[in-house]
Subunit: 341 residues, 2 copies
C-alpha cells in the first residue's frame, strides 16, 4: 500500500460531504474523485460543492462507472443508502474496477445472515478483483459490536451482553426527527412501525449476529420491538416546533438475541428529542468478571464518518473479500496534515 | 490452524496456574504440557499441582527444551518474569522448536523502544521459524493501549489522551502489597523508588509508545513519577496488618509522554489498599468529539490471564514475527467446553 491513499467519495449528502472534508484534512489520504446524486451537480468543484468556499481541483461526477475506469484510486468511501441490494448495485462497478469499498450502509455492517447468497456473490467478486469490502460506522461498526466484543476479551467467561444507547435527537434537525416519528400521534407511529415505514435504528440484528459469531454463540431467535415514547407535557425542542403533549417525543427500539429461550444479547437504542436527555452508551457484560462500561458517544454523524475515514488504511491493507470489523486490527485516528498539538 | 489448539503453560505460579485452569475449561484449547519453576515439582500431575484435586494426565515438566522438542504443541503461554531479556532467554527454545509464544511479561507489551536490537533478533527468529510472539495482559495489552486507541478510531481528530486507573490492592495479599511499598515509611519508599527496587507498575512507557506509533505521534520525551500516598489515619486492611498513620497506604505512578514540551499522553495508576477505594479505569480523549469513557476493571489477575488465554487462536492465525496487540483483530472471549447459558 503506498501513501497517500487515493479515495473516491461516493455520495455527497449530509454524511458524504463531511467525509470528503475529512479526507482532505488527513495526511495519508487524497481525495481523487467524488460522486453526487443529482446530474445537474456534475462538473462542479467538489470543494465548493461541500461548502469549503474554495476550489480543490476535483470535479463532482455523476457517472460512477466512468469515474472508476478513468481515475486512479485505491478505495471508494460509500455513503448513499442503507440496504444491501442497492449498495451492491452501486459498488459492484467499483469492485470490478479493482477498488476496495468502505460503506456506512447499516445493513452492510454484518450482512451475512440477511443476505447469504448476495454475500457469497460480493465475496467472490471482491476476491476475484483482489479488493476488500467493509461496512462500518458508529453503529454497526463500534458501539454495539466492536466495543462490547473487545470487553468480552478480558473476561474468563461471558453469559450475556447488554448495550444501551441513549441518543438525543434534538440537534439532528427536523428531517431526521421526522424519520423517527417525532410529533406523530401514537396511532400513526404504530402504523408506521407495522408498515415498515419507520424502521428506526437499522443494524441491530446484524450486531447480534456479529457478536454471536465472535463468541461462538448459537442465536436461534432474534426479536425486535419498537415502542413510542409519548410526551407527558409539551416539549420545546430548539430549532424545531414543539412536541405536543400526547404525541411521540421519542422511541425505544430493542433487539433481543435468544438461545433456547434465554436472552443472550440485548441491544437497545432509546431515542428522544427532549433536550435534557444525555447521550450515553452503556455496556454490561454479565460474565466473570462482570463489567460495566459507560461512555458518551455524541452525535452519530461525526463518529460514523470519522470511523469510516479512519479505517481506510486498514481496509487497503486487509485480505481481499467481504469483511466485517471483526477481521480488522484496532482502528486509530488518522493524523491531520496540520495537526494541532 | 486446527482445533483444539495445543497449548503449553510456561510458569505455574499465581498467574500461570490460573491460566492452566482456563485452558482446561475452554472448548478450543488443549493443555499438552506445563513447566514449573522448582525441579522437585517435575513429574507431578498438573491438575493436582494447580489445585484441581484431580489428575488430568499431563505431567509437570522442569525441562522446557526437552518438552518443546517432544510434545506436539502450537503455542506456549508464558507467565514467569517481567523483563524482556530474561523472557527471551526462556522462550527462545520454544521459538526454535516452531512454537508461537504469548507472554504476560509487562515489558513485552511493546518492547520495540527499550530493546530495539533484541526485538530485531526476536522478530527474525520468529519469522525464520514461522511463529508469532506477543506480549499482552490487562495493562499493557488493554487498559492503557488497546482500549484508548479503539476510542480514538471514532474521532475526527485527537489532541491528547489521559488514562487513569484506580486499583485497590486490598484483595491482593501481603506479598504483592509489599511489592508496592505498603506499610513503608515515606523515606524507605522514596529510597526504594530511587534504587529501582520499587518499580510499581511496569509497562506504561511501552503503552505510550504503542499509542503514539498507532496515532503517528512523535513523542520526544517520556517521564515517570512515583509518589507515595501517606495514611492520614490507621487503615484496617482485611487479611493484612493495619497500615499505620504516617506510613505508605498507596502510590501514584504517572507516565507522561511529551511532544515539544506538551503532554500528549498521560497514563496514571493510582494504587491503594484502603478497602473503600473503588476500582475504575477512565479514558479521556481530548479530541473531536471529546470522549469520556469509564469502566470497572476488577482484579488485574483475572483480566490479565483471561486476555492472554482468549488471544490464543488469534496469535496462532497471525503473521509470523514479533507482534503487538495493534497487529491483531478484536479479541473476544473463547467459549467454555460446558457453557452456562
Amino acid at each position: 500500500m503506498s501513501l497517500p491513499l487515493r479515495v473516491i467519495q461516493y455520495g455527497l449528502g449530509a454524511m458524504g460531504s463531511v467525509m470528503a472534508k475529512m479526507i482532505l484534512e488527513k495526511r495519508d489520504l487524497k481525495l481523487v474523485g467524488a460522486i453526487a446524486h443529482h446530474a445537474e451537480d456534475a462538473g462542479k468543484d467538489v470543494g465548493e460543492f461541500i461548502g469549503l468556499r474554495k476550489k480543490i481541483g476535483v470535479k463532482v461526477s455523476h457517472d460512477p462507472e466512468r469515474l472508476f475506469r478513468r481515475v486512479k484510486a485505491d478505495v471508494v468511501l460509500h455513503a448513499t443508502v442503507s440496504y444491501v441490494p442497492k449498495v451492491w448495485e452501486q459498488i459492484e462497478p467499483a469492485v470490478r474496477a479493482g477498488l476496495s469499498v468502505i460503506t456506512i450502509a447499516e445493513e452492510m455492517g454484518y450482512p451475512f445472515y440477511k443476505y447469504p447468497k448476495l454475500c457469497r456473490i460480493m465475496d467472490r467478486a471482491a476476491k476475484k478483483h483482489g479488493v476488500s469490502i467493509l461496512g462500518t460506522g458508529i453503529n454497526p461498526g463500534f458501539a454495539m459490536d466492536v466495543l462490547p466484543l473487545l470487553l468480552t476479551g478480558i473476561c474468563e467467561e461471558v453469559w450475556s451482553i447488554r448495550v444501551t444507547r441513549l441518543i438525543n435527537f434534538a440537534p439532528f434537525g427536523a428531517a431526521i426527527q421526522k424519520n423517527i416519528g417525532i410529533g406523530m400521534t401514537p396511532k400513526a407511529f404504530r402504523s408506521g412501525i407495522a408498515s415498515g415505514k419507520l424502521p428506526l435504528h437499522l443494524g441491530m440484528p446484524e450486531c447480534v449476529h456479529e457478536m454471536a459469531d465472535a463468541l461462538q454463540w448459537k442465536i436461534d431467535q432474534i426479536r425486535e420491538t419498537r415502542r413510542p415514547v409519548i410526551a407527558k407535557r409539551n416539549v420545546r425542542v430548539p430549532g424545531y416546533k414543539s412536541v405536543a403533549k400526547g404525541t411521540v417525543v421519542g422511541f425505544e427500539h430493542r433487539c433481543f438475541g435468544y438461545t433456547r429461550g434465554k436472552v443472550k444479547i440485548l441491544l437497545e437504542e432509546l431515542g428522544n428529542v427532549d433536550p435534557k436527555l444525555p447521550y450515553s452508551n452503556t455496556v454490561t457484560i454479565d460474565g466473570n468478571p462482570r463489567l460495566l462500561e459507560k461512555m458518551n458517544v455524541p452525535m452519530g454523524n461525526l463518529t460514523t464518518t470519522s470511523h469510516a475515514v479512519n479505517v481506510l488504511p486498514a481496509v487497503a491493507r486487509a485480505r481481499p473479500g467481504l469483511l466485517s470489523m471483526r477481521d480488522l486490527p484496532v482502528v486509530a485516528c488518522l493524523p491531520h496534515k496540520r495537526p494541532r498539538s
